[in-house]
């Protein structure tokens, strides 16, 4: 029977898109989402049909907004002849009094945005010649500025408008997922010769804010107060690195949350189409990320006591993340080896508890029975689609930059381990300020320790170590029912009361289970369209040399032996085939211990060699895929880790839905079986286990021990 040889399945894709609280789903032609862990923000491209200029302000709309009555006033554009200027001189046009903005969608949007103004300070404004603004330019200035400029031909959306995108699970149509959130970036409005009008909107995720948050390191003596706005981050430190002496969580929390003291916050008015409200904003922080629901978690076993990378002197208590007494003190959750619990916290399925977890800290306890009544079906079960409508249409209550900061750190590296991050020389005091950005600082630090940072589809900023040494089943192969979830709350998640409170107050629908997450990271052959498996010889390196010395301008010195001892890190198992291939990693900071240098060298070689064996896979839509998760590719019996995931959904009769991944750090099977489970193959990277001394699965004690070959 053909059906047996050629299985046939059905898929029912759907999306919902909200811009500034307005649902534009019915006008969306296609959505393309790209998530990656690189320096640039993830992007989403939304293609809209712009029928009758629904999303573009027209001349008629401007007349209505400006209250220009053509029966009393003629609009004449001087450079158009009367014959060409058909719009404003046409007698029929002139007979009309004040027109309306006919499209109700456009009318609501422009009415809302047109009312939002901001005061600006004019007293210190000068003209180009240095004279006070009260001179020739004053008649052109206004003390009030429209926050949202509206002009003829401009879109009704504006840059930095919040956007949320949700996808339905095409194989399980009752389940919906957050797929993207961020800010409008670019807009392109196109009209063809046949008057077919479309609009393309590009959206960037909240890490965009990191790119624009300036941080001044040792601001110049002469110009600091003039150049630095009082909301920008300012470091005055004797070290060249602004984060000297700080652990990774402290670095991240300082950049994102600033001081977190009450006096360091102000109230900002936040608007959306369907509401407005006050939002507490940190003066020296970034965005409105949520401090109380953010998580610092450790995973894996602790390093041996006395290990050089575990600095007992810096720890205030076992597992402490941020110093006690600090204004940004925070507890650490120890997950043991339970990465399924970590994924549960990150998971992007739309759940009733999102109503509580995703709103602002001030609003978190306010959602009581009134809201629950609005958001349930007739049988009392939570209505996921109504929850999506509520979250999407109220970005004033659910800001897209109010996600959590989720940091996962292997315990063996020590939460307060800062030996890798810092190690610096005393810098001079510059006379003029040099600005960098919070994003640049973070990426520099994270790249040194080979950590990855990305924005999740829910809007959480996730910082993790590389997880490419694990197998997919570490994320759990069984669904989590109520008993399992309760067990987690009593266990590793007991330090995360907000999650338990939200789950208790907003229970799941009866037939809904969470997880399992392991099977999400399996690409079966029957789901694959095509793949490309590449091995790039040039990327293989077998030797890294690191110099743990404190000397300025080390890179410029010809003989490294003059600067003190250097530490080579080898891949002996690769040398017989590849020879000695030197990687000369140049740490932008400086490492001052041998242990730190060795670790840094291992991380460098891991990172470089990971790019040698890559996969590109295009397959059936899998919206549960996740960055930095070991993913099994059945077609080649290999495990690789996605660096970039792209989902594309085009609607209609010529529609399509695909997912594609770019993956690195491929691990393959060389015939070795596990000693403990002889049916389980062991997957290893280039050079096998011998090719990697820093293997996180081994560090966790869960890497399958290989049967030794005779």
């Amino acid at each position: 029977m053909p059906g047996e040889q050629h299985p046939v399945r059905y898929a029912f894709p759907a999306f919902r898109v909200f811009i500034y609280g307005l649902e534009v789903t019915d006008d969306v032609l296609s959505v393309n989402i790209n998530m990656h862990d690189g320096d640039m923000p993830g992007q989403c491209t939304i293609n809209l049909v712009n029928e009758l200029d629904r999303y573009i302000v027209t001349t008629n709309d401007m007349r209505a907004l400006a209250a220009v009555d053509l029966s009393e006033r003629v609009i004449r554009i001087p450079w158009l002849s009367q014959a060409d200027d058909q719009g404003s001189t046409d007698s029929e046009y002139q007979d009309k009094k004040l027109p309306g903005v006919f499209d109700p969608v456009k009318r609501n949007m422009l009415t809302k945005k047109g009312l939002i103004t901001q005061d600006i300070e004019l007293s210190n404004r000068t003209d180009p010649f240095g004279n006070e603004a009260a001179s020739i330019n004053q008649k052109y200035f206004d003390r009030k500025v429209d926050k949202y400029p509206i002009s003829d031909g401009s879109p009704i959306f504006h840059p930095m408008d919040p956007v949320r995108v949700f996808f339905r699970d095409p194989y399980n149509p009752s389940r919906w997922y957050h797929m993207f959130c961020g800010f409008v970036s670019d807009m392109i409005d196109t009209t063809s010769e046949n008057n077919v009008k479309t609009m393309v909107i590009t959206v960037e995720d909240p890490t965009k804010l990191f790119r624009y948050s300036r941080a001044f390191i040792n601001p110049g003596i002469l110009d600091a107060d003039k150049v630095i706005h009082n909301s920008e981050i300012r470091f005055q430190t004797a070290y060249q690195s602004p984060m000297a002496g700080m652990s990774l969580p402290e670095v991240v929390y300082t950049l994102v949350f600033g001081q977190n003291a009450p006096e360091d916050q102000f109230i900002q008015q936040v608007d959306s189409l369907n509401g407005s409200g006050p939002l507490s904003t940190r003066t020296h922080g970034i965005g409105h990320f949520s401090f109380d629901t953010s998580v610092i978690a450790t995973v894996g076993p602790a390093p041996p006591k006395g290990s050089a990378i575990w600095d007992d002197e810096k720890r205030k208590r076992d597992g402490a993340g941020i110093r006690e007494g600090s204004s940004i003190a925070k507890d650490v959750i120890d997950l043991g080896n339970n990465l399924a619990a970590w994924q549960l916290m990150l998971d992007h399925e739309v759940k009733p508890s999102d109503m509580q977890m995703m709103t602002t800290e001030a609003d978190r306890t306010q959602f009581g029975s009134v809201h629950r009544l609005e958001l349930v079906k007739s049988n009392g079960e939570p209505d996921i689609e109504k929850i999506i409508t509520y979250i999407g249409s109220r970005p004033d209550q659910y800001p897209v930059d109010a996600g959590r900061i989720m940091i996962l750190i292997p315990r063996s590296l020590g939460v307060e381990n800062n030996k890798i991050v810092i190690g610096d020389i005393i810098g001079g005091y510059p006379l003029q300020s040099d600005a960098t950005t919070a994003g640049a600082i973070l990426h520099e630090i994270l790249s040194r320790i080979e950590f990855t940072m990305y924005c999740s589809p829910r809007g959480d900023i996730v910082i993790e170590p590389p997880l490419y040494d694990f197998d997919p089943d570490i994320f759990g192969m069984e669904p989590l029912d109520d008993a399992a979830i309760k067990g987690l709350f009593n266990g590793v998640l007991r330090h995360y009361p907000q999650l338990e409170s939200a789950a208790t107050r907003w229970p799941l629908p009866k037939d809904m289970k969470l997880g399992p997450y392991g099977p999400n990271y399996v690409i079966l052959k029957r789901d694959t369209y095509n793949w490309e498996n590449a091995f790039i010889d040039d990327k293989v390196h077998t030797l890294a040399v690191v110099a743990p010395a404190i000397v300025d301008n080390m890179e410029g010195i010809g003989f490294m032996s003059l600067v003190g001892h250097v530490l080579p890190v080898w891949r002996e198992s690769l040398i017989p085939l590849y020879g000695v291939r030197l990687a000369t990693p140049t740490p932008r900071g400086y490492i001052y211990t041998t242990a730190g240098a060795r670790l840094y060298g291992e991380m460098c070689l891991n990172r470089l060699n990971a790019d040698a064996h890559t996969f590109r896979v295009s397959h059936l839509p899998n919206i549960k895929l996740w960055l930095n998760r070991p993913t099994y590719i059945q077609g080649r019996n290999a495990i690789a880790t996605p660096k970039s995931i792209t989902h594309n959904l085009t609607w209609g009769q010529a529609g399509d839905m695909t997912t594609s991944m770019e993956m690195y750090a491929s691990r393959t099977w060389d015939g070795t079986m596990s000693k403990d489970d002889p049916t389980r193959p062991v997957y290893t990277g280039i050079g096998g286990y011998d090719g990697r001394m820093l293997d996180y699965a081994q560090l966790f004690g869960i890497a399958p021990e290989p049967e030794k070959k005779e």
């Binding site: 050629h6 299985p7 046939v8 399945r9 059905y10 898929a11 029912f12 894709p13 759907a14 009758l52 008629n60 029929e92 009309k96 027109p99 309306g100 006919f102 499209d103 109700p104 095409p170 052959k525 029957r526 789901d527 694959t528 369209y529 095509n530 397959h619 059936l620 077609g635 609607w651 209609g652 009769q653 010529a654 529609g655 399509d656 839905m657």
Partner: protein
């Protein structure tokens, strides 16, 4: 339109023919548009801009009431007062077809896409809020003008209705050429009332013409012309999903099968 009771279910198909006394079971198709209804004052107020500001759903409901609420079966065409038909009006608000189209083709594809994987196939169904993957309904009408020979004098044309048929064809042609957008951004929607033996429940289709009326002048038929045009349906009254229920309810009131046979 409400359900018809048993006594009148098929009786409303009986109307007098042009100039004759015999009855004939024919329900004329009617064609109209938002533009014609506005110009005739059947919908809206003199302030058509006020109408334009209303929600589109409210506008459509008003237009449907204007069309469905009128008893076209007792209209000027039924009574055949010639002067009333040829009264001087710029255009007919509602075009009653003197000769109904002889062929109507219904076509409604489904929205799905097949993709092959390495070991199987997947059908992607693009569904609406009701879970249906139906694409847009398109109707293709083909018909003939009937006898449009107006050369034989008024009496003859009165008997054959040639003047009326000629005028109706031109009105239909003009209708297919109307703008889709009126002043103030108001959409000009087209309305077709439809009733046949297969579809005894009257249906009003709302949509637009996907081509101007197409015709060929052929000497082989000197006094009649064939035409065709396509119509894309954006809405119906009642919804097509409700047709079966309504028909079942009406048929259940008619009586035994033998009674139905006599009118088919």
């Amino acid at each position: 339109m409400g359900l018809l009771d048993a006594a009148t279910f098929f009786s409303k198909t009986l109307i007098p023919t042009i100039g004759g006394r015999a009855t004939n079971r024919r329900v004329p198709f009617t064609f109209s548009s938002t533009k014609r209804l506005l110009e005739s004052g059947s919908v809206g107020t003199t302030q058509s801009r006020e109408l334009a500001k209303e929600d589109a759903a409210i506008v459509l409901a008003k237009e449907l009431r204007a069309i469905e609420g009128t008893d076209f079966l007792g209209s000027a065409l039924g009574t055949l007062g010639l002067s009333s038909v040829l009264s001087v009006v710029p255009s007919m608000p509602v075009i009653n077809m003197a000769v109904n189209p002889n062929t109507i083709r219904w076509s409604q594809p489904k929205r799905y896409v097949k993709r092959d994987t390495m070991n199987g196939s997947v059908f992607f169904h693009f569904t609406d809020s009701k879970g249906q993957n139906n694409d847009i309904l398109t109707l293709t009408f083909s018909g003939s003008t009937g006898n449009i020979n107006t050369q034989n004098g008024l009496d003859n044309s009165t008997n054959t209705g040639a003047d009326v048929k000629l005028r109706i064809w031109h009105e239909l042609y003009a209708l297919t050429r109307e703008p889709v957008l009126l002043d103030g951004g108001l959409k000009n929607e087209i309305f077709i009332t439809y009733r046949t033996v297969l579809m005894p429940i009257p249906i009003t289709f709302v949509g637009f013409f996907n081509q101007v009326l197409e015709f060929t002048e052929n000497a082989a038929h000197p006094f009649s012309r064939d035409y065709t045009f396509g119509f894309t349906v954006t809405n119906t009254s009642p919804p097509l999903d409700d047709l079966t229920n309504k028909l079942n309810s009406a048929l259940s009131l008619v009586g035994p099968i033998s009674a139905i046979k006599s009118v088919i």
